[in-house]
């Protein structure tokens, strides 16, 4: 079974530029999450989708971050304009269903460096 796919693996951009990350969840998984992991810390939840709808985006800095999952499968996370403090690994995860008793699986992440 294929895992969660993310691209690109690495990205270096200058501050104030824009960047986009792509995620393809495990086939059949209805729930998709984006996390931000700053160096030395655990991942922090940014946004959760259930199919193509947003369940919660309260932790997403919506002045510069946006995310979509138009057809309920792939998802894109965008940052515009990027700041130095956005340097982090962006992880996508998926689970079969929503609910606190479901197991989540993570992709390899996209390492973003903003210079």
């Amino acid at each position: 079974e294929a895992g969660v796919a993310q691209s690109p693996r690495y990205k270096i951009i200058e501050k104030r530029q824009s960047v986009a990350f792509w995620c393809n969840p495990i086939s059949g998984h209805a729930t998709l999450y984006w996390y931000q992991q700053i160096l030395g810390q655990g991942p922090k939840l940014l946004i959760q989708f259930q199919n193509n709808g947003v369940v919660d985006d309260s932790q997403l800095p919506k002045d510069r971050f946006s995310a979509e999952r138009l057809k309920g499968v792939d998802s894109t996370l965008k940052i515009q304009p990027a700041k130095l403090e956005d340097s982090a690994v962006y992880l996508c995860a998926s689970s079969l269903t929503a609910g606190v008793d479901t197991e989540a699986f993570f992709g390899q992440g996209t390492r973003l460096t903003v210079v």
């Binding site: 991942p43 939840l45 309260s58 932790q59 995860a93 606190v100 989540a104 993570f106």
Partner: protein
């Protein structure tokens, strides 16, 4: 929101040694996962263990939900066990049901 504390923060061991990693949490839970983040950044699922004990090869985990802690045991450590081990529990905020992570235990296994 739920608080997750992991200990020790850092651990250096020789190959072949055994280790115990601890995760304390502030609220009762019905979901707890242990992950290993390898040096390339991949988060690998180790255990989904809201309660009880599970074993997988050299690794085992125990969660005592009533006392709000979980333990991860690694026996006969190998250099490939190096990395960061995270405990994660249900996120409590808004309507999301993702995970809240501890700060992790950074494990280094020396040959």
């Amino acid at each position: 929101g739920i608080q997750v504390e992991q200990s020790p923060p850092d651990l250096i061991l020789q190959e072949g040694a055994n280790s115990t990693l601890r995760c304390n949490f502030s609220d009762s839970v019905n979901n707890l996962q242990w992950f290993h983040q390898n040096p390339w950044g991949q988060l690998i699922n180790l255990f989904y263990i809201p309660s009880g004990t599970k074993q997988n090869g050299r690794l085992s985990a125990t969660t005592v939900a009533t006392e709000r802690y979980s333990l991860l045991y690694i026996s006969s450590s190998q250099t490939t066990d190096s990395g960061v081990y995270f405990c994660a529990l249900p996120y409590s905020g808004g309507g999301a049901d993702g995970l809240t992570f501890g700060k992790g235990t950074h494990l280094i296994i020396q040959p």
